[in-house]
Amino acid sequence: MDALTHLYLPGAVAIWSALIFALAAVWGYSQVLRGDATALAFGRRAYACFAAAIGLTTLMLILVLLMRDFRVEYVFQYSGLDLPGHYQFASFWAGQKGSFLIWLFWGTVLGLFVQRTAGKSEAPVMVIYLATLLGLIFILVRENPFVMLAQSPLDGQGLNPLLQDDWMVIHPPIMFIGYAATAIPFAFAMASLWRRDFNGWAARAFPWALFGFLVLGCAILMGGYWAYKTLGWGGFWGWDPVENASLIPWLCLTVLVHGLHMERTRGRYRRANYVIAASAYLAVLYGTFLTRSGVLADFSVHSFVDLGISGWLIALMGTFVGLSIWLLATRLRQVPTEPNEDPMLSRGTFLVLATIAISVSALVITFGTSAPLLTRLRANPGQVGPEWYNLVNKPIAIVIAVLLTFLPYLTWKGDRFGALLKKMIVPAVAGTLIAVAFVAWKVHDALDIVLVLFAALALATNLHKVIAKWRAGGLRAAGGYLAHAGVGMMLLGILASSAYDESTKLTLEQGKPVVSGGRTFTFLRYLPPSAEERRDRMEIQVTEANGKQFSLFPRMFLNQRTQQLMVNPDIKKSLVSHLYISPLEYDPGRPQLELAKGQEGEVGDLKVKFVGFDLQAAGNALAQMASGETITIGAVLEVTRGGVTSPVKPLYQLNPANGQVTTPNLDLPGGGAIRVTGIDASAGNLRLEVEGLANPAKLAVDVTEKPLIEMVWIGLYLMLTGGAIAMLLRFRDARVLERVAERAALS
């Protein structure tokens, strides 16, 4: 019973009951598969109870976080008294345990809808789907988030300051909806193989694949935008293992969406889709293993440690890899297929080539991310940097752009090249003009010109088709074209903003204008935290060549809890380019001195000698200490400047009631000021700060001009909007099909 007293019981009991209900639901659904149709109701009820238990678990963790109950270890580790209310939610997924719980929570919620859309394959689909959830429950039962501490601390350790950002409140939960969603096509595919029911699954899984594509895409977009806006290294994508861990499943889902489209419209890809659906989910598990097990600890910018769950993650991955391979090996050959008879120049062939290109990209990224694991076998494990990922993905991007250029005009039956060109003459001219503009601007590298040309053409031809569809009766059938236009736009934006940006490092002295790249930069002032702005800012005035003036406010501040130096860039946005200023180093121009009694130090043209403390500076300090009044101590100094020595006595005041320290500036004869910044009581040392001498405050910044970066975001929005339109269409299709099947069964 000892273990029980170390758990927050309401939460722990909720997790355990969730485990039991999940097992009961699996049992109920398995009975249906054995032929007992009445067990279906039991399975559904058990699932409802399971969902309630998971909901309760989640609610419990939110409650203990909101109550700031620091007895619970998880709350103690990730929350603190100084954390504003809505960041308490960010604490929920700041740690491993909470992020597994939010993943499980979304998986459970989505399961309620999977039940309803699974039609007559509900029982086998739910058994597989519950198996994927059980893996997460096992991890949570072992790594219980409701472990209690032996004592009850007064305050928590606080939340990582990097995560105290509004984007971090919404980005991670959306990412986990995406992770949870990849298990749905997986469950449909595996259930179909398992029961050898090869026909209905594609229509049912299709909208879910689009849903996963959409949600994971949104999460990746937000993560990239957050990195760009707050981290200050200037980019939105660093090819870090954590980023790749979400990109690889997303690429798999992209392939799956196209594969399912071909299966639904042409009966193609019937076998391949099983493999793709399995790889999307296995990629999520593999990414989780890479980023959560600590195997990449020395290689990633993000922080990982081994929580002791590596074994569990390997077992989880092994189970599902094993299950997939067994089902694929024993049943894939039984799936009926037709030989490929598409002509070369046809929509079918181009779609196949595009899916191959995206798959190759996913494989290459997986290979690169695994480099530290793969090279572990050798004497010196290593890794590859962003340069390699950019290098190998560029040819793939060109291939995709070429395919997308022609795709809108191709038919399934096949086309002639001449007729094709005639159809696309208007957008082809528009696209070429865009490309010419890029070359005239400054794109001169041959490979870059090819990429720009086809990306611009893909944008133009697909937009052309969107407009044609829209005129012909609405955007319902234009989702794919809209998404592809977005891809073209995004490729242009990525190339222009990352390969043709211009960056300079400037050191700005306060008040002294510096000219760089046609702009004038002046570091005006340091702004301390205020009621509206929680964090310190620097004001930099920028004057454009045409005389236009504006101020940017990058931040650089010390996080009080962690003594970590935090940096936030500031961005001046316009449609054609962003001006990105990121602070690198700040020298407040206030030299510090630490002196022992009788010691002399030098600052600029000053010599400062610390003679001793004056306990009678304003009343008796010892008496003040005894009575609890504000204590005032004077520091007796001898300041020598230009051969003249004068005594000065800056004060140090401490209010014992609230611990507030006041250290007023004391003007020095001959200019400047001095103040006490601290007293080291044990060593008897005095810390001083001098300001207003010849050295002004200096701010070093990185100034980057990022052309057309807005096209990256707009392109992504177009792509995701296209995906959303397609998803709505496919959910409706699936419902219609279900109804047709029901009617057929009745008659």
Binding site: G95, Q96, Q157, N160, W233, G238, G294, A297, D298, S300, V301, H302, S303, F304, V305, L307, M344, I356, V360, V364, F367, G368, A371, T375, R378, N380, P381, G382, Q383, V384, G385, E387, W388, L391, V392, P395, K505, T507, M556, T562, Q563, Q564, L565, V567, L584, E585, K698, A700, D702
Partner: protein
């Protein structure tokens, strides 16, 4: 027949791409090596060590940061030079990963990128990259 020809062409292109990826992978791979190995190879490598207290030397004008790192296992030391602005809280670093190559004439390691691990109470250590 024509179709099979296309399959061969496609297959060859994929093979070519695989070869290209692997070759560039080999070239771009920066292995973790010991200080001894780092000083005897001209290729890009990464080394990890603890910062020797008081060894940091920074000049604001040409933005060059020099410091010495100590290898925990061998007690060897390595002088590292890095061009760029000094990373914030650099002096508190518990360990530093430097990616770059050894300059045999200057007898120091020219780093093009630094990963600074600072003591942190959060899971693992907070790591920041500078390049």
């Amino acid at each position: 027949m024509k179709r099979n020809l296309w399959y061969v062409v496609g297959g060859l292109m994929l093979l070519g791409f695989a070869g290209f990826s692997l070759m560039s992978f080999q070239q771009n791979l920066t292995p973790y090596v010991s200080f001894e190995q780092a000083t005897s190879t001209p290729r890009m490598v990464q080394v990890m060590g603890g910062l020797q207290k008081g060894s940091t030397d920074y000049s604001t004008d040409d933005q060059a940061l020099s410091f010495t790192i100590l290898e925990p296992k061998s007690a060897k030391s390595l002088r590292v030079r890095y061009h760029g602005i000094r990373p914030g809280n650099f002096d508190d670093a518990i360990s530093i990963v430097a990616i770059g190559r050894y300059d045999d004439t200057a007898k120091q390691f020219e780093a093009s990128k630094l990963l600074v691990k600072c003591p942190s109470k959060y899971q693992g250590a907070e790591v920041k990259t500078y390049s």
